[in-house]
Amino acid sequence: MKKTNKTVLSAVVSGVIAATMACGAQAATDGQVKLGVLADMGGTYADICGKGCVTATKMAIEDFGGNVLDKPIEIVSADSQLKPDIASAIARKWVEDQGVDAIGGLVSSAVSGAVSKVNADTKNITLISGSASNTFTTKTCNPYNVHWTYNVVALANGTVKPMVQAGKKKWFFITADYSFGHALEGMASKVINENGGEVLGHVRAPLGTTDFSSYILQAQASGADVVALANAGNDTVNALKAASEFGLTEQMDVAGLLVFTPNAQAMDPASAGGMRLTSGFYWDMDKETRDWSKRFEQRHGEIPSMIHAGVYSVTTHYLNAVKAAGTDESDVVMKKMKEMKPNDFFARNATLRPDGRMVHDMLYVEIKKQEERKDKNDIYKIIKVISGDEAYSPMQPQCNFS
């Protein structure tokens, strides 16, 4: 009996030796470009960055030719379920075990924050297209963050400022209770105070709330001029629905601070018509945007949101940079991305700053009323173009990674 134990023990020891020898993670700089797309496949944000984000990435890869550095570009995708722990685990598996070079999509600031932390450790690039919080290029900035599409600063400057200046001084917030909502409310409050307005109060609703009636009643009792919805996706749609049911839309202005086209489509034009907001992209702006959007619509079945367009744009820019750099080594690629000017149907007058913030023209739009709409996709009319410098805040010195 003793002998068998010895055999087993020696097996154990040899196992340990084998294990230590196999130590050492798989390097991402293998000349094989592999992109990960993390999206919300079935939750609150599925319409704005779910399967559509995967489709947009695939379109970008196909339009690029499918190959870079003489190897086919690979893509993996997964459902973040909007949970930071799941996102972090998936990101870790991708970059450490499967050789993923860059992770894109990334809707929900909580998810992006978790992924960005993992990527900063492992030196992989985070291509944030779907999240709004400005923390990725301020408080939690790191050399591997690229923040495309939009952020809370642009939304607050674009949407809130003109309203306060037009005399809507008293504000009340209904805020999504996580980093994105807090950041948006904070930034909007700052803009309101700077322009002589005041914030009367706020109420925080968990992500994915379906019944907004109690929050709407609090807003109604506040006596504000404007009720601002500092949330996104289906949360905005549901909040607006409750607001119109309780007659709030007739007493006060409702400002959707972050509205995506699929959500604007889902809103009742009677209550949403006339609402003004800021967007990074509108499909029906000019011929270039229409051409791309039609192709997207054919594959996806719906017109693109600004996130879909942003995902396409940032993927293309990343691939161009890899090609120009001749390597997939993150530091070199990041340097190239910041040197080259992004220029496509989405990125107009655009630069990628050393802090990772992509600054480009934003659009100030109004949701069309029922009688103004030609068909179901005819949602916005563009009031004006906001230049990038006007929309985004200047770079912070500690985030200058040039």
Binding site: M1, A19, D85, A110, D177
Partner: protein
Amino acid sequence: MNNMKINLFLLALALIAPTVLYPVFLAKVLCFALFACAFNLLLGFAGLLSFGHAAFLGTGGYVTGYLMVNSGLTPELAIIVGTLAGALLGAVFGKLAVKREGIYFAMVTLALAQLVFFFYLQAPFTNGEDGLQGVPRGALFGLIDLSDNLVMYYFVLTIFIAGYWLINRTVHSPFGQVLKAIRENEDRATSLGYDVNQYKWLAFVISAALAALAGSTKTLVFELASLTDVHWHMSGEVILMTLVGGVGTIFGPVLGAGFIVTMQNYLSGGELGNYIHIIMGAVFVVCVLSFRSGIVGQLMKFKRNNF
């Protein structure tokens, strides 16, 4: 002696596993296995169905995470404090819960766990939905850097073996015998002179502490503590793991945890990702309907009948 051989074989398997499989995935399996074993100590050996074990997992995770971020403690100390926090919470909850039996026991634990969930949702240090992100793994005893996944895995394996050994020891001790007696016939145990509630309470505290140990370790592995760990879904998942593996067997929960975590891991990436909850529900139904004693229970029955 036969058991000894099996255990050594499994240990060898666990030691060489990271050469083939991704170490973080294996570490996750071990964390959940420990969690399920802790839960099984209560359900399988004391006959108490707790529906609030996520509270202990989450508490361990948050306390350890908070300490690692803010206090500069070494990981082993942070884990010990996290475990003690779970034990303390378990002591309070246990005191209240063991006064009731059956469905009422389950409901009391669920209600208390929901209170804990709400606390973590609102408390500023947890960052709400964002979770406690960027928890450093630190250096073990201030010497061994845990940032390497392989080193982390062996550290988790050590913790798991310690926890598993403790449970094994508890179950086979006189204390464990009394627990089983209470499970089989509580009135008779009382009539033999045992203070039944005291025994149940102690089992509850041990179970809570080990669940917190699992949570603390998990936070270090993923460098993150989030609301998922305190949500009641997690309390449900651990029941599923234990049932699939085999209630009341020592090794069953380990196998069950391995099975469920592997399934989640492979489904989340693929086309079936949207149906993960439906598939898990189906597994649960099949398990309850056709092999109620779980994988290990079924294997043992097979062995008894044929050998």
